[in-house]
């Protein structure tokens, strides 16, 4: 019961602020609503007892990426953006795609309603004490079963980082 309340609260906040993020004209306001969305999503993670993903979401997305977003937005002249056309002509296409996606999700939820633990009805969450500690579990998976892909991803990120540094250097 309580779980449901919490879930719908976070979900509601996430969707509402996502909508506001898209429609706000002021970029800083949009950023603030994006932050709220991300935080609400993090809340849902926490409610699902995925503590590590919860905190990763906060540290990486909210604490890291969004700070840089806001940082950049602050330096841009906002009064120009205010006078520009907010949505391009593709908005009807976008609406169409969104509706199609919503339909797809709805159909999936509906069709899987019989499978236990899925569908519209939320399962009763497992008490945290009975779950394996998920940080350790995640680490075990990453560094044991999926070591190679993990390392490949790391190298890829490193390459991207070096590339970014080189590109930034060139300009000055």
């Amino acid at each position: 019961m309580l779980d449901k309340v919490i879930f719908f609260f976070f979900a509601g906040v996430a969707i509402l602020s996502a909508g506001l993020m898209v429609t706000r004209r002021n970029a800083i306001h949009s950023a603030v609503f994006l932050i709220t969305t991300l935080l609400a999503t993090a809340g849902i993670f926490l409610q699902l007892r995925a503590e590590f993903i919860f905190i990763a979401q906060i540290i990486l997305y909210v604490g890291g990426i969004m700070v840089l977003f806001v940082f950049v937005i602050m330096l841009v002249r906002l009064d120009v953006a205010l006078h520009q056309i907010q949505f391009s002509r593709q908005k009807w296409v976008a609406l169409l795609v969104t509706l199609a996606l919503a339909l797809e999700v709805g159909v999936m939820l509906w069709s899987s309603r019989k499978v236990p633990g899925q569908g519209f009805l939320l399962p009763n969450a497992v008490p945290a004490g009975k779950l394996p500690p998920n940080t350790e579990a995640l680490a075990g998976r990453l560094f044991d079963a999926y070591l190679l892909p993990f390392e490949i991803a790391s190298v890829l990120l490193l390459v991207a980082m070096v590339g970014a540094v080189v590109m930034a250097k060139k300009r000055t």
């Binding site: 019961m1 309580l2 002021n26 800083i28 306001h29 603030v32 932050i35 503590e51 590590f52 919860f54 905190i55 906060i58 540290i59 909210v62 604490g63 890291g64 969004m66 700070v67 840089l68 806001v70 940082f71 602050m74 330096l75 500690p133 998920n134 940080t135």
Partner: protein, 453 residues
């Protein structure tokens, strides 16, 4: 009874400790922050051959309350061109982040809001870093040059130094092998030594980085009053300003608590496993009693009757606390209270010492310049922290796989990191020398005559 009400009741029954602790944090931290400010002013005055606040209450003991009242009834100014909503929300964000992150901190084995969550330490760091939005948004919303420059500076500073602080914490976490706050302290008890002695360099890096993160001198550039007036807080006044201020001091408590937990043995008393040092258990009670006795001594010297009474009151409070700390030691049936109470005492004492260090540095050192600060962060602290993480890892492998003596392995780590530090410093000096020989940058042709004056 409706199911909803039942659920609520069940909720309260399960979580009442957490709820109470949460309320206590929200209620007590602002007061404590106020008294930290008073302590800072008093210490500063003492170091500067002054008296500090003396008017409100004996020795200015009521000053924080007077300040709070003043700030509450002060006019709340919002600049005309400010973005009102963001301006309004920014200080709240700052304060909320600091208070929320306290939720996962264990003030002794008995006092903690969030029962040891799996990612305890990460939670504290991650959530407290959200406070930066308060600064950035506040600076932006004020619509003033000083504010926005202060906000830009603090963003850059926080992002840089959080990296260093995080890496320094990783060194400690490697030793502990867990993120759970309670388990970290238990690990130190198990090792029989505070981690600061095993990873001194990591502790040092964390101290420096945490000073920078809390925007304290010598890294208080975002609010460098001689340059940027008050940085991102320039346009704030009254209670909003107070919220920023509280957030800042709450943040100091948070970083102090993190450092204490990870490096200074948390709520363990010094030498937790040495039997013959058990007399240290009596220290908390004796200490508070001594403070009380001093208050009694001072009470006689107060010029005004009211102040004498007040001093007696403070003394009485100290004696009561001393009694609470002493009784469980002496009365066998209450023995179970000892770890909780004394743990809290030691924990708070260590945080105080940490905050004292912050203040001491603030009164002593000049301020870094922004580029110097960034260089220190990126060219010295972060590489050093990375080397330190690697070295600690190597040392642990040496100990666990090859059976080295722990102290020998850790000594090796420290030596390696210190050598790296020296190398980095040399490199930095060379770079600085090269930069200064190149500076001042080539003079522009005097096309801007209007500025020739």
């Amino acid at each position: 009874m409706s199911p909803t009400l039942q659920a609520v009741l069940a909720f309260v029954q399960t979580w009442w400790v957490e709820l109470v602790s949460g309320v206590v944090i929200v209620a007590v931290v602002p007061l404590v922050a106020g008294y930290i400010v008073l302590m800072e002013r008093k210490l500063m005055a003492d170091m500067q051959a002054r008296l500090g606040p003396m008017r409100v209450g004996p020795h200015g003991l009521l000053q924080p309350i007077a300040d709070a009242v003043k700030l509450l009834i002060k006019e709340d100014i919002i600049p005309d061109n400010a973005d009102k909503v963001v301006f309004w929300i920014a200080p709240v964000v700052s304060m909320t982040a600091a208070l929320t992150s306290m939720g996962a901190i264990a003030f002794g084995p008995a006092f903690q809001v969030a029962r040891d969550i799996n990612v305890g330490l990460l939670f504290v760091i991650g959530v407290s870093s959200l406070g930066i939005f308060g600064i950035v948004l506040g600076g932006w919303a004020s619509n003033s040059h000083y504010s926005i420059m202060g906000a830009l500076r603090s963003t850059a500073q926080l992002v840089s130094y959080e990296t260093a602080a995080g890496l320094a914490l990783v060194s400690g976490l490697l030793l502990a092998g867990t993120l759970k706050i309670r388990a970290i302290v238990d690990a130190q008890q198990h090792f029989g030594v505070w981690f600061v002695f095993l990873a001194p360099v990591a502790f040092f890096i964390y101290v420096v980085a945490s000073i920078a993160e809390t925007n304290r001198a010598p890294f208080d550039l975002p609010e460098a009053e001689s340059e940027l007036v008050a940085g991102y807080m320039t346009e704030y006044s009254g209670f909003r300003w107070a919220l920023y201020f509280l957030g800042e001091y709450a943040n100091m408590i948070v970083v102090g608590a993190v450092a204490t937990t990870l490096f200074l043995g948390g709520w363990l008393r010094p030498f937790p496993n040495v039997r013959w040092m058990n007399w240290l258990d009596a220290l908390p009670a004796l200490f508070t009693a001594a403070v009380g006795a001093y208050c009694v001594y001072r009470a006689g010297k107060q010029p005004v009757r009211v102040q004498t009474w007040f001093m007696w009151g403070v003394a009485l409070a100290c004696f009561v606390v001393a009694l609470i700390l002493a009784v469980p030691l002496l009365v066998a049936p209450l023995k179970f209270l000892v770890p909780g109470l004394h743990g809290a005492f030691w924990f708070l004492l260590k945080i105080s010492a940490y905050i004292y260090l912050f203040m001491w540095l603030r009164f002593t050192l000049p301020r870094y310049r922004f580029d110097q600060l960034m260089h220190l962060g990126w060219y010295i602290l972060i590489p050093l922290a990375i080397v330190n993480v690697l070295a600690v890892g190597v040392a642990m492998i040496l100990e666990m796989e090859y059976g080295w003596n722990r102290w020998l392995a850790m000594l090796l780590t420290t030596v390696i990191t210190l050598a790296t530090a020296l190398f980095l410093l040399r490199l930095n000096d060379k770079r600085a020398a090269a930069a200064s020989s190149a500076a001042p940058p080539p003079e522009e042709p005097s096309t801007e005559d209007s500025y020739a004056g």
